[in-house]
Amino acid sequence: MGRVSTSATDHSPPHAGFAFILKKALLSAFVALVLFSLMIGIRTEAGPTGQLTYWTRFDELAITVAIVFVGSIVIELVRRWLGPSGASELVPARVQNGLAASGRYVAPALLIFTLLVPVIFYRQRYILDLGVLVLTYVMLGWGLNVVVGLAGLLDLGYVAFYAVGAYSYALFATTFGLSFWICLPIAGILASLWGVMLGFPVLRLRGDYLAIVTLAFGEIIRLVIVNWQSLTGGPNGISSIPRPTLFGIPLTPGPNGFAAKLGIAFDPTHRLVFLFYIILAMALITNWVTIRLRGLPIGRAWEALREDEVACRALGINTTTTKLTAFATGALFGGFAGAFFATRQGFISPESFTFQESALVLAIVVLGGMGSQLGVALAALAMIGGFELFRGLEQYRMLVFGVAMVLLMIWRPRGLIGHRAPTVYLKQAQAISSDLVKEGHG
């Protein structure tokens, strides 16, 4: 996913005329015809007796191909009009600088808004639920950002740590009756240990090979959970996981509950608001720790590792421990998020920890701009929130979503916030262009 190339910059020479545009449009239309002739042109369905019935829809096919043809011409004309510049320059430098400057105010504004969400949307349970979900992914994104964005290690099995965290909490809480606040660090540490265990065998792997092994690791953890029936309950999962308490006060309707103690009427939204602030606090701590780590030698070593591993070794940096700490730190945050997920749902099963989750979190990191904290938060909001926003489109949701992602990657190949902020400066901190920042080779 990090390899989305900037082929859009491969523009036609400006001197090519109308014939060129027409040729290009015809080619696009032909590709569309081949692609859609089976997808749209023929519709198949199971008949009443189970036999296959099909009928043709040539008019729809013709419309689609015509749209592609006209669209291709329009895109080419728009490109002409914008001049032969690269796609990255579709946005003028002045606007980009403006965006960078306003970025300073985006983060505090976003934070204040997030803090006020439970107040503003107190009556709208759906939005609060969505907010909790978005914040969970913000936290996961920030955790994976340490591994992928800073250290440049492509991890496709991040969901494994999420699962370890969730199951650690679920098992400790249901077996020993430990509270959420005691289990949270345990879940994080266990996930972190698994991070180190994954780290050891993959130390010598780079790039694609690393990605495949981490992908396999994620699947192994899931399969172990599915098959270890006696411990994890297998596909049935673990249910009745205890909810978090506020200093030992449960948020339940009973006489010892939070509402009864305060002398107010019980409202199930109390717990939702409570969960919202827990995940917000956890995400903010993740963010604070990551920002602090970036300014410390370990964080700088992670980024140096992404830039050039050989040079790191020549400077006396232990690349083994540097990689392992990156995996462990990322896994720690993943484990925390997992424990929160378990306590929020009250029920977990292996279905929640499929590869799709890893891919989603990785997409958030890549779309956000690898290494950028604000970018990851915005991407999580766009991905999870946007996914809900398109719910009305039903089966076209994935299509619209996919197109939006492709367009975003063409517009900003290095993510929403591609600039890298320096960790230390003498006179003035200048954003570093994404052209110079490496993506890492694993």
């Binding site: 030698p297 040079a311 020549a314 006396g316």
Partner: protein
């Protein structure tokens, strides 16, 4: 065998160093010494095995046979037994690369801060004290920035401190890589073709920088170089290699007139070799 170290003035003693890649012998029983606070040059035609020797000394290759002893305050260190990053961390041998290896997406200052990783790592209490922002860590960070600033002034890049290293001009990148290596406070600095791609003015500035490093920091320097004007001007001792073996060694002017050296360079092209050897006259 006799002790190759004949006195305390040798910072590095390489003894019968051999490196084989499959059936190819890249370096064959090479022995030489680098003197403390001196500049030793390793020269030879392309493919002579110079960079292989460097990679053995700096731990990137594990030599097939032979020993490399580095003199240090606490007795000689066997470089062939140390792993890659420990050569820099424990033996204090720093290196630069033939094709520059900076961290292009990090600023010039950050590059120099990364070089002080081990010092800063200790000061940050393996990250934990640094995370809490204890005063001793803040002081250590300030010292590291001052150290980096010192080297920025030395290489004349103070004004570019907050620019991305990848945005620097080629010659500046070369100097920054040397400064970054010096920020690890090495006892032996290994430079792999530091003058490659530099123009005459930049080469002269480089010679000046290396001489000042030797004089002021007292760092011993081992360099591979093709630019004979640089080699002849600054080196105290020259070792000439061809086909993995040492064919001559001595003071620059002795080596230049050595018939074996001329013959080695003649192997490629007679007139070119003479031109190379006499270019600085």
């Amino acid at each position: 065998m006799s002790e190759p170290m004949s006195g305390a003035d040798h910072i590095l003693s390489v003894d019968r160093l051999t490196m084989r890649f499959g059936g190819i012998v890249a370096v064959n029983a090479l022995s030489f010494e680098a003197q403390r606070r001196k500049i030793t040059a390793l020269i030879g035609p392309n493919g002579a095995g110079k960079t292989t020797v460097f990679n053995c000394i700096t731990g990137f290759y594990k030599p097939t046979a032979g020993t490399m002893r580095l003199a240090s305050g606490s007795g000689p260190i066997a470089l062939e037994r140390l792993n890659d990053f420990r050569i820099s961390k424990q033996a204090k041998v720093a290196r630069t690369f033939q094709n520059i290896r900076l961290f292009p997406g990090m600023t010039v200052l950050e590059n120099l801060m990364v070089a002080q990783h081990n010092t800063l790592m200790r000061a940050s209490g393996l990250t934990f004290l640094g995370l809490l922002g204890v005063p001793s860590w803040r002081a250590a960070e300030k010292r590291a920035i001052e150290h980096a600033t010192f080297w920025l002034n030395r290489i004349g890049l103070y004004d570019r401190a907050d620019d991305a290293a990848g945005n620097l001009a080629y010659g500046d990148q070369r100097r920054l890589e040397i400064a970054r290596a010096m920020c690890t406070e090495p006892t032996l600095l290994c430079l792999d073709e530091p003058a490659a791609g530099l123009n005459a003015r930049e080469s002269a500035a480089l010679s000046e920088l290396l001489l000042s490093i030797r004089a002021e920091q007292g760092t011993s320097i081992l360099l591979i170089e093709h630019d004979m004007s640089v080699v002849m001007e600054i080196s105290d001792h020259v070792v000439v290699m061809d086909y993995g073996v040492k064919i001559a060694e001595g003071a620059p002017n002795e080596v230049r007139d050595d018939p074996r050296v001329i013959a080695a360079y003649l192997g490629a092209d007679e007139e070119e070799a003479i031109a190379v050897m006499e270019s600085d006259n």
